[in-house]
Amino acid sequence: MSESPNVMTNEERVAYVQIKRKQTQFRDSMLAVSGIVFFFLLWEAIVLTGWVDSKKLCSVLEVFKLFILKFTDPNPDGAVLLVNVWSSLLIALSGFGLAIAIGIPLGWLMGWYKGFDAFMRPIFEIIRPIPPVSWIPLSIVWMGIGLKAKSFIVFFAAFVPCLINSYTGIRQTKEVLKNVGKTFGASNFTVFWKVGIPSSLTMTFAGIKVAIGNAWATLVAAEMLAASSGLGYMILMGRSYGRVDLVILGIVVIGVLGVLISAIITKFEDLLMGWKKL
């Protein structure tokens, strides 16, 4: 630090920059760790000093103990943790899969074919502003409180970002690329299939990521309003039995699973679109 950079040789300067960068990285990761530690310490301190009622907050260790216990113990909500996780995943992934299978092709077609756009757009614009949560009563009337009704709600939540992103993605296809296709005598459909869709994939994947977040968030609401198992139901039961540890455990499990799912999608995106890294 003390010596002026002017007297350094090139190699020294490179080494100096590298050391400096390592130091910053180390400092940042230390800060990150201390941030997390600080959070947990604060939590424990609040519990230990009895600053808030023990009915309203429990210690981190208790949540962890419950996590272990919940693998075998179905009380108090009537299902072990893995059953809850499975039933939530089933709903989220079925609704999400349906949204991808319908929303993305629809967005591509609307973005490419003007007539189709003119036809579908008004319908879409009428339905879009209605939040998915408010479909819950109707879907219960139509389909009961089974898997179908909840998947339908999740579908609605995931459908909109899928469609919007694949639509904007394909609308942003570069004219040059389209013209190259036309010059080589490709039909409109071939240009759509070979040029439009691949060039829209970046945007489409961004939409998929938003969609999975929405799907996962709406799932909780769907399960709170109508369910007999699942993570949202588990949280709600924890609330009605006054079991704060169960509520916190449910929130943590939902959060962790959400992060895992989006990490898997990012991996998949990297696999499918290797050219982006170049």
Partner: protein, 279 residues
């Protein structure tokens, strides 16, 4: 060919241009057809609606009657407009907090390296939890009054604005910053005169998404336990098997949501006109 040329007023147009014109007309007609189709679909779905026992999907007429009845015979002494205003007041308080605190916090963790490293893991963990999952915990802590509802909306829409502000401030073009240092800008000047203006569009994207998120969350919060607001109307309709009321609520929510989206878009155009996409 000759006949067409002589009889048509647009005879000076070529074949391709005519085709183009026909398509334009078709594009004008198609939206009308699709809306009509949607309405007839509604009529078809509600054909075995029985208003006496409330089974089946309500007809448009029944929904309209219910909406009018809501003004003559209010639910909980409030008509539709008042319920909507109560919901809007809730998101108003929450958004006022989020737009001040959220933007400030986003700037803090987007611009300064040390707070970024310290707070980012905590914030990302907070963000990973779906907004609605906080509802049981917050009602456990604060009961079901007015304050916990506002708090739920704050929790639900805070993440979207902080994420956008953080992204905007951590991706400021290096060239702009270099210009600043060439002109000997102080760190404060660099932040206020360069970084924040250049990320205004990202900040506004955050304002837009947080508004729509808040509207969705307030609805869910009201459906889970409230005695006023549009979300309450829906859950009331569900409890008393009054499907026209549910549909009235849904349509009101859709309209208010659309108005909110348009208003934030207009505000964005006024405050940062350069973000408007060039065609």
């Amino acid at each position: 060919m000759e006949k067409v040329m002589s009889s048509n007023t647009v005879s000076h147009l070529s074949q391709a241009e005519k085709k183009q014109q026909r398509l334009e007309i078709l594009y004008k007609i198609l939206p009308v057809i699709s809306v009509l189709l949607l309405i007839s679909l509604w009529l078809f779905a509600s054909k075995d609606y029985n208003p006496k026992i409330g089974s089946g999907f309500p007809t448009p007429a029944a929904t309209w009657e219910r909406a009018v009845k809501l003004f003559t015979r209010p639910v909980k002494k409030m008509n539709l407009i008042m319920h909507a205003l109560i919901s809007l007041r809730r998101i108003g308080f929450a958004l006022a907090f989020n737009w001040t605190f959220g933007i400030a916090f986003g700037i803090l963790i987007g611009w300064y390296a040390k707070p970024k490293a310290f707070f980012s893991p905590m914030f990302d963990a907070f963000r990973a939890v779906p907004p609605l999952a906080w509802i049981p915990l917050i009602t456990l802590w604060f009961g079901i009054g007015e304050f916990p509802k506002i708090l739920i909306v704050i929790f639900g829409s805070l993440a979207s604005i902080v994420v956008n502000v953080r992204a905007g401030l951590s991706t400021v073009d290096v060239m702009y910053l270099n210009v600043g240092s060439v002109f000997n800008a102080t760190p404060m000047q660099t932040l206020i005169k360069i970084a924040i203006p250049s990320s205004l569009d990202a900040i506004f994207a955050g304002v837009r998404t947080s508004t729509s998120a808040a509207w969705m969350v307030v609805l869910a919060a009201e459906m889970l336990g409230a005695d006023s607001g549009v979300g309450f109307l829906i859950s009331r309709g569900m409890d008393s098997i009054d499907m026209p009321l549910v549909l009235t609520g849904m349509i009101a929510i859709g309209i208010v949501g659309a108005i909110l989206a348009i208003l934030t878009q207009l505000a964005e155009r006024l405050i940062c006109p350069w973000t408007r996409k060039s065609k």
